[in-house]
C-alpha cells in the first residue's frame, strides 16, 4: 500500500461474540483503495465472520468499520455499496443467468431494459454471453462461479467480497480462475477482499495478506513479506514449507543473534524485536534457502547426515538428521542442474544457509 492511497475499508478493533464464544478478538485492518486484499487462515478462524460483518450480515459486537471514512456498522446490507461472491454462489435458481446478473442493477433503480443491457456487458467480461438465457443449474461449477462474480460486479460496488469462491473448483480451473480474478480486479479497479484457507492461492493473488488464526490477525503484509519474514510460529508453519528448530538465544551483539540448538550446533541470525538473550524460541528456515555440500561453504552451516532423497519433478528434497530436533528438509531445484549435487543416504554433509535465511520467531 502506497502512502497516498485512500483507505477503502477500515476495520477498527472489531470484536465479534456468538454467545460466550469470541469469534473475533479486536481485529484491526486497513484495506487500501484498489487493493487485492486476502484474509488467509485455517477453517474456523473467523474469516467468513469478518467478511459478513463488512457486508452487513452480522452485527459488530464492539469496534467500528469504515467505508471510505463513513462508519457503516449500522447500515443494512442493501445500503452498503459492497457486494459479495458467496461461498456456494447463492445464484437465484428461478432466474436466468441474465436476470441474476441484472438483479442488483434493477434493485438500484435502473429500468429492466437498462439492467439487462449492462448485465449483458458483464456477461461478456466473464465470457458467458452464450449462456445468458440458461438457468444457473444448467451451468458447470466454474461457469456458475463466473456468474456469481458477474452478478456481484455488475452494480459496480466500491468493494467486492469473495468468500472462498474457488474452493469448489478443480485444481486446473482454480489456477486459471485465480489469474482471471486478478486480471478482473486490475481491469475494474474495484477493491477486492478475498477469503481463502489456501496459502498458495493467497500468495499468488494478493497485494497484501492478513494471516488469521483463532479470531486474531497474526501478521499483515505483502506475500513476500509474510513468506520471508514470518513473525511467529503460526505464520511460519502455515505459509509454505519450513524447518522449525527450537533454539536458545545465547547473545545478541553487533546486530547478530547467536543461538544454539543442542548437539553442538550453533548459528547466528538477525535479531527480532521481542526475542531477548536467554529466550528459548523457534527458528524458521525455508528448505529452498539452503544448499548441501561436503565442505562448509557459508559462514552459517550445520552438519547432518542424509536420510533420504525425494524426487518430485521440479525439486529434490533431501531429508537430513541433524542429531537434534526433528528431521530437517533441504530443497534443491531440479532446474539448477549444473550445481545440483545429490548426496546418497548415510553420507555426512554440511547444510549451508545464506545470510537472512534463518528467522527467529516470536512464539
Amino acid at each position: 500500500m502506497t502512502k497516498q492511497r485512500p483507505i477503502a475499508i477500515d476495520i477498527q478493533k472489531v470484536v465479534k461474540r456468538f454467545g460466550d464464544f469470541t469469534a473475533l478478538k479486536e481485529v484491526s485492518v486497513s484495506i487500501g483503495d484498489n487493493e487485492f486484499f486476502t484474509l488467509l487462515g485455517p477453517s474456523g478462524c473467523g474469516k467468513t465472520t469478518l467478511l459478513r460483518m463488512i457486508a452487513g450480515f452480522e452485527d459488530v459486537t464492539a469496534g467500528a468499520i469504515f467505508l471510505y471514512d463513513q462508519e457503516i456498522a449500522k447500515l443494512p446490507p442493501n445500503k452498503r455499496p459492497i457486494n459479495t461472491v458467496f461461498q456456494n454462489y447463492a445464484l437465484f435458481p428461478t432466474m436466468s443467468v441474465l436476470e441474476n446478473v441484472g438483479f442488483g442493477l434493477e434493485m438500484q433503480g435502473k429500468s429492466r431494459a437498462e439492467a439487462r443491457r449492462q448485465a449483458g456487458e458483464m456477461l461478456e467480461l466473464v465470457q458467458l454471453s452464450q449462456f445468458a438465457h440458461r438457468k444457473p443449474s444448467q451451468l458447470s461449477g466454474g461457469q456458475q462461479q463466473r456468474v456469481a462474480l458477474a452478478r456481484a460486479l455488475a452494480p459496480k460496488p466500491r468493494v467486492l467480497l469473495l468468500d472462498e469462491p474457488l474452493s469448489a473448483l478443480d485444481m486446473k480451473l482454480r489456477k486459471s480462475m485465480q489469474l482471471e480474478l486478478k486480471h478482473i480486479q486490475r481491469e475494474t479497479g474495484i477493491t477486492f477482499i478475498f477469503v481463502t484457507h489456501d496459502q498458495e492461492e493467497a500468495l499468488t493473488m494478493s497485494d497484501r495478506i492478513a494471516v488469521m488464526s483463532a479470531g486474531e490477525v497474526q501478521q499483515l503484509g505483502t506475500a513476500r513479506d509474510i513468506y520471508e519474514n514470518p513473525r511467529n510460529m503460526f505464520v511460519a508453519d502455515f505459509i509454505g514449507d519450513t524447518n522449525l528448530l527450537e533454539v536458545s538465544v545465547d547473545k545478541i551483539e553487533n546486530g547478530r543473534a547467536t543461538c544454539h540448538l543442542g548437539g553442538g550446533h550453533e548459528l547466528t541470525c538477525d535479531p527480532v524485536a521481542g526475542v531477548d538473550t536467554g529466550a528459548r524460541v523457534h527458528l524458521s528456515v525455508r528448505p529452498e534457502r539452503l544448499f548441501l555440500s561436503s565442505e562448509p561453504e557459508e559462514v552459517e552451516s550445520l552438519r547432518g547426515r542424509v536420510v533420504e532423497n525425494i524426487f518430485i519433478g521440479t525439486d529434490i528434497t533431501t531429508i537430513l538428521d541433524l542429531g537434534v530436533g526433528p528431521q530437517f528438509r533441504v530443497r534443491a531445484s531440479n532446474s539448477d542442474r549444473g550445481n545440483l549435487r545429490v548426496f546418497e543416504p548415510g553420507q555426512n554433509v554440511f547444510v549451508n544457509m545464506e545470510r537472512g535465511a534463518a528467522r527467529l520467531l516470536v512464539d
Binding site: G56, F92, G104
Partner: protein, 268 residues
C-alpha cells in the same frame, strides 16, 4: 414406495397386494359404477343413465346440496388461502431463523395436529367455541378449518424450503433489495411450488372434512360431507352416489395436481 418390484418378490406378495388394492378400490368402483345406474335400486343394475346426476342439480334435494356445496367450496377456498398464508409465514420464519435452538421443536409443534385423532380435535374445538360463547355456524366452521388446515399447508411448503437457506435472501439484500423485494423477487418464486401444493392439499382436506365440521357447525348449516351424511341417514338414494363420484373425481384431480406441482424443482 416405488421401489423395484423384484425386491418384494416373495411368494404371496402379489396376492396380498391385489387383495389390499381390491379392498381399497372396490367400494369406490361400485359407487362410481352405480352412480350411472338407471334403476332406483342401489344394488341391481338397470342400464346406463345420467339421471342421478341430473337429479343432484334439479331433483327435490338439489337446493340442499347446492347450498351445502357453496358452503363447502367457499369455506375450503378461504380456509386454504388463510392457512397457506400462515404456513408460508411460518416457513419463512424458519428460513430466516437459520438453525435456531427450537427449530425442530417448532417444526414438530406445527405438524403435530396431523397426528392428533380428529375426534379429539373436534371435541376440543367444540369446547373452545362453547367456552368463549361463540355462536356456531359458518364462521365457526371456517375458523376450525383454517386451524386444522395449517399443518397440511405447512408440510409441502416446509419440504420445499429444505434447500432454501437464508443465504438467498442475504444475496438479494447484498444486491440492494429491501426485505420485501427479496421476498417477492427471490424467496416467493422459490417457495411457489410448495405454496401451491400446500394450498391444494389444505383445500382438499377442508372440502373433505366431516368429523370436526359436524361438531362445530351448529344447526341449520351443512357442508357437502355433512349433507351427504344427513341424506344417507334417511336412506341410501343413488343421487348420493352421483355426488360422491363427483367429489371423488374432483379430489383426485386436486390431489394429483398438488403432487405434480410439488415435484417441480425450482432450485434445480
Amino acid at each position: 414406495m416405488q421401489t423395484g418390484a423384484a425386491r418384494f418378490d416373495f411368494p404371496g406378495f402379489k396376492v396380498l397386494t391385489f387383495l389390499c388394492l381390491f379392498i381399497l378400490y372396490a367400494p369406490l368402483l361400485v359407487v362410481t359404477v352405480y352412480s350411472f345406474n338407471d334403476s332406483r335400486s342401489i344394488t341391481t343394475w338397470g342400464g346406463f343413465s345420467l339421471r342421478w346426476y341430473v337429479d343432484v342439480f334439479t331433483g327435490p334435494d338439489s337446493a340442499k346440496f347446492q347450498s351445502a356445496a357453496f358452503n363447502s367450496f367457499s369455506i375450503a377456498l378461504i380456509a386454504a388461502t388463510v392457512a397457506t398464508a400462515i404456513a408460508t409465514s411460518a416457513a419463512l420464519a424458519m428460513v430466516r431463523g437459520g438453525r435456531f435452538k427450537l427449530r425442530t421443536a417448532t417444526f414438530g409443534l406445527i405438524s403435530l395436529p396431523i397426528l392428533v385423532p380428529e375426534i379429539v380435535t373436534a371435541v376440543a374445538m367444540l369446547i373452545f367455541f362453547n367456552a368463549i360463547g361463540f355462536t356456531r355456524g359458518y364462521t365457526s366452521i371456517l375458523i376450525a378449518h383454517i386451524a386444522f388446515c395449517i399443518p397440511f399447508a405447512y408440510l409441502p411448503i416446509s419440504a420445499r424450503m429444505q434447500g432454501i437457506e437464508g443465504v438467498y435472501e442475504q444475496a438479494a439484500m447484498d444486491l440492494y433489495a429491501g426485505r420485501a423485494q427479496a421476498f417477492r423477487r427471490v424467496l416467493l418464486p422459490m417457495m411457489m411450488p410448495g405454496i401451491i401444493s400446500g394450498f391444494l392439499l389444505a383445500f382438499i382436506i377442508s372440502l373433505d372434512d366431516f368429523i370436526i365440521t359436524n361438531f362445530v357447525k351448529g344447526a341449520g348449516i351443512e357442508t357437502l360431507p355433512t349433507a351427504i351424511f344427513g341424506s344417507v341417514k334417511q336412506g341410501l338414494r343413488p343421487n348420493i352416489m352421483a355426488i360422491s363420484t363427483m367429489l371423488l373425481v374432483f379430489s383426485t384431480v386436486i390431489v394429483t395436481l398438488s403432487w405434480l406441482v410439488s415435484r417441480i424443482d425450482r432450485t434445480k
